[in-house]
């Protein structure tokens, strides 16, 4: 019965496709070197707001973000453009992982922006606005686009969600945050397993060097940070509606095992190159309206990164929003607060 209901709901949802202004387009953007970048643009275009989303990872893909409970609300209010970065998700090309660079990925983003402009925005009545949004790794790629290309001239604003724009600071702050959280938790009354887990987190975090970490140490800390987030009771993942999951499965553009194996190689190659990258001081050159959105318990990319650049951004509109019951994935844990923050910012900055 539940399955039937799910199917009916999914079919009902697909009815959105016929509504005026509704976009649900999947396409590839071919680069000069023959790479095909996979893009899914979905949502209501009547508000004239388009958000180009840069996924995290690296090595993931953007399709899993469409499973977030926040996604349907965002699609009702604007057009989300999900891009699978080069070598990730359903994008395909000939570049080897070791040849991938941040500027290369940024050039891809600029090309996709050109295609979006001509496909949706150039002939549109009114003033369509394109926003750039990055989550986690996307928060390291975003500044490369904003500060090292001319793309900022065509953008209405920058939305950074738990952005990893400063890897050395991220690493050091993550260690501090983990140790401080473990000390705090261990002062209280915990069950045996939780106490052992926090002790293990504290011990391991203390052993990882705060500066010049190797790739292995960076990844070890990343795993530790996710484990710590899982121990926070306030952080609860909201269930994705069955209809959304069903629709996602029908349209998922890539294969699960392929994504895992190639994703790992891309992640290792890119993180190894970018582990010393810091954009924090360059945020002083950023004049676009900017929103910095973080989860209070984000041990992976601590909220101190957002607090640090809030005062540096040169734009008039700079919002820092901390979601109190979230960690690294606020779109899954506080979807309503997450979408409200984004939509309020877009309304304010427009």
């Amino acid at each position: 019965m539940r399955t039937m209901l799910t199917v009916v709901l999914a079919l009902a949802m697909s009815g959105c496709a016929g509504e005026p202004g509704w976009i649900d387009d999947r396409f590839f953007v071919r680069t000069d070197d023959g790479t095909d970048l996979y893009v899914h643009a979905v949502g209501d275009s009547t508000t004239n707001d388009y958000v180009l989303f840069l996924h995290g990872g690296p090595g993931g893909g953007s399709s899993s973000y469409e499973l977030a409970p926040s996604a349907p609300t965002l699609h009702d209010k604007l057009v989300m453009v999900y891009l699978d970065q080069r070598g990730q998700g359903a994008s395909e090309g000939r570049t080897r992982p070791e040849d991938l660079t941040l500027p290369m990925l940024a050039d891809d983003v600029v090309l996709v922006m050109d295609v979006l402009d001509q496909l949706y925005m150039a002939d549109r009545v009114g003033e369509p606005r394109l926003w750039l949004m990055g989550h986690s790794w996307g928060g390291l790629l975003g500044p490369q686009v904003l500060l090292e290309t001319d793309a900022a001239d065509s953008l209405a604003g920058w939305i950074e969600v738990a952005g990893a724009h400063d890897i050395p600071k991220l690493h050091a702050d993550s260690i501090d945050m983990l140790i401080e959280a473990a000390d705090g938790e261990l002062e209280g009354k915990l069950d045996e397993d939780t106490e052992a887990a926090w002790k293990d987190i504290r011990t391991t975090a203390s052993k990882i060097p705060r500066t010049n970490p190797s790739l292995e140490e960076l990844l070890e800390l990343n795993d530790l940070a996710h484990s710590a987030s899982d121990l926070i009771e306030a952080v609860v993942y909201e269930k994705t509606p069955g209809s959304v999951t069903f629709d996602w499965l029908r349209h998922r553009p890539n294969s699960s095992l392929a994504n895992l194996t190639t994703g790992r190689q891309v992640a290792d190659a890119l993180l190894d190159k970018e582990k010393d990258r810091s954009w924090s001081e360059r945020y002083r050159e950023l004049t676009l309206p900017t929103m910095l959105l973080w989860g209070r318990y984000d041990f992976v990319v601590p909220p101190t990164l957002g607090e640090d650049v809030q005062l540096k951004v040169a734009a008039e509109t700079v919002d820092l929003v901390i979601l109190e019951d979230s960690a690294h994935f606020p779109m899954f844990t506080e979807p309503d607060a997450y979408t409200d923050a984004i939509l309020d910012f877009i309304a304010e900055a427009s």
Binding site: R30, A90, T95, P97, V115, H251, S256, L257, A258, T262
Partner: protein, 179 residues
Amino acid sequence: MLALWLSGALSVAQAVELSAGPMFEDGYRPGARVGAHWDLQTYDRQRNNGDTTRHAFSGGPDLATYVVRGVHWSTLPGGTVAWRRSGARGLRLEADIGASLVVQKNLAPTYTIEDEELVEVRMAGRLKWAPTARIGVGLTPTDSRSWGLVLRPSVFVESRQNGMRAPILANELALTWSP
């Protein structure tokens, strides 16, 4: 060289088995595979309980296809060599290895920018190749019936992204027929 090998293989081939059936990429995406396998060498083994099992080294071409809805359609002409064990009561165990060409047609439109203009690339797609491996379990054709039914989980290791090998899992339910 290939023709020589094929003619040699066919001259020693003892029996042919045809198979066809639906295939599900990643467990649920629709596809199909057809194939023919010739026994190149066989031997019978007497088991302790008196039954005889037939072991065959076989080989032949196949054609697989699957669709990732709205994204791309892949067709994989290729071939495998296999070891196949057929029990007296019809139990079939098999293991194949081989390779396929991957002819991938983009179903999603493919755009590019040429001279600052948006252009749609016609007939966009990619050519790749994929080593394949497959195991199978099911019913074999026997002396009393000419058909069988085999479940074949497969993996196509496509040269998919950035020079990396991307394993694509598929399950095939094949109806086999031995004339």
